[in-house]
Symmetry: C2
Subunit: 277 residues, 2 copies
């Protein structure tokens, strides 16, 4: 067993394990950060940031050489009493990057794993089925949707460059929501709650949710993800569909997403990167 999955909260870790199984790969060793349990997946080991080096040692003992990250991890609160001496030594490094935002912190965590001899795999390498090919995968897109997706790609790129978020909602050129810490579902709930008179006439275009990685992020971790809940919430927000950067956005269960999209009349568009933005 040479691959360990560092599993955060949410449905992505289970989706990744299942996609790997469907592809005939052995089940990865699953480690979860204390307090961020994955959904529907029992971790083989739970670890704490305060004891990162003992955790590394436990992984080495099990023959783990490659690591994949999947799922949401917020900044854990650290308990000074729990640090082992080795891990305590990297606290200044971690604190310095925490001040620079989540992206910098994740890069630093990757660097710590790599310095200890682990190779980092992207989720797409462990489970290529989670990265759908380019194309319109449900419904139909209009020229208006193409314009909105191009504008949304520009906005998400701007948000990503300042390490804010990986998604936004655009309708007829207007940005109705920008993703921040609260995540995609909270953003879509905000759009659903917008007073009708603030929204453009849906006859002119229903708008879309768009997701893409941050321009400068390490694509081996923290790729944006979509699931069947994203489709249902986008429908509740009155949107016409979902577009994402093909190759840079994970779809947790594409068949279920397509079924939900057909049912709610939404399009799903795996959009080639760099198109017309």
């Amino acid at each position: 067993m040479s691959i360990a999955l560092i599993a955060g909260a949410g449905a992505l870790p289970l989706a990744l394990v299942e996609a790997a199984r469907a592809a005939g790969a052995p089940r990865p060793f699953v480690a979860a950060l204390d307090g961020f349990a994955p959904e529907g997946l029992a971790p083989d080991l739970t670890f704490r940031i305060e004891r990162l080096y003992p955790f590394f040692a436990a992984l080495h003992e099990r023959g783990v050489t490659r690591i994949a990250f999947a799922g949401a991890v917020r900044r854990p609160r650290l308990d000074p009493a729990l640090f082992d001496p080795l891990t305590a030594g990297i606290v200044p490094r971690l604190m310095a990057t925490l001040a620079q935002g989540d992206d910098a912190t994740l890069r630093e965590v990757i660097a710590l794993f790599e310095e200890d001899g682990f190779a980092i795999l992207g989720a797409g390498e462990v489970a290529p089925a989670l990265l759908p090919p380019e194309g319109v995968l449900a419904g139909r897109i209009t020229p208006r949707d193409q314009q909105d997706a191009a504008r949304a790609a520009l906005i998400v790129s701007a948000l990503g460059r300042v390490d804010v978020g990986q998604g936004c909602v655009v309708q007829q050129g207007l940005c109705l929501g920008a993703e921040t810490l609260a995540g995609t579902d909270a953003m879509l709930a905000g759009v659903a709650a917008l007073p009708q008179d603030l929204r453009p006439d849906p006859a002119g275009g229903r708008g879309l949710l768009f997701k893409a990685p941050k321009p400068l992020q390490d694509r081996r971790i923290d790729l944006p993800a979509l699931g069947v809940q994203s489709v249902r919430n986008a429908a509740r927000a009155g949107l016409g569909g979902i577009a994402w950067e093909a190759g840079g956005t994970l779809c947790l269960d594409l068949p279920a997403m397509r079924a939900a999209a057909e049912e709610t009349g939404l399009f799903l568009w795996s959009r080639p990167p760099g198109t017309g933005a």
Copy 2:
């Protein structure tokens, strides 16, 4: 009577009229876009976009030579039956800019007024008291607040460059909210509703609301604005204070804002532009 105020919704038009009166200036002629009535201020004239040129003629008749814009105007729905022939001729121009976002549309509207012979005044020229000088105007700011304000200024600049919004909320380097169409109060309500476990420990810094104009916007119209409600909503969202770009952000009633800030323990910081961002 040579100045006309084009008044949109919200409290800004009345604040501007009162600030002008307090400065001893004559009351401006107040025109309001149909459907976007200002609060507490009876318009002398209501106009519709479909009859923009007859409205220009009415202003010229009254001897209006200078125009100031104040207050929120969303995209009005247009009724094709109401257009006069002259205004109908500019519909293609307006439609082309609407697709490019609100900022482009406002620039086009300004251009139409200027082409018809009006001079455009900034709100700060009509009522300089609405633009407070640089400085900490209530409470105290910490080095952490200064870092958060610098990061927030960078984020608002990025949002503004893609014509999304003029405000954000940052706590300990994390962006908790980005302003879009729904406005500042909706963003603050979203921050107030964030699950506690998503927010950093307030002991490390309570975070702030930050507002600034878009980098490329015409500063004669659509400056961001703050009022006493912003202070109360920032307090409800658990923030430590409000910072804004000095000279580029209108404060509707600074004495009331200061009183509310003292009462709720918030700081108010009129921050010099370009500081440490």
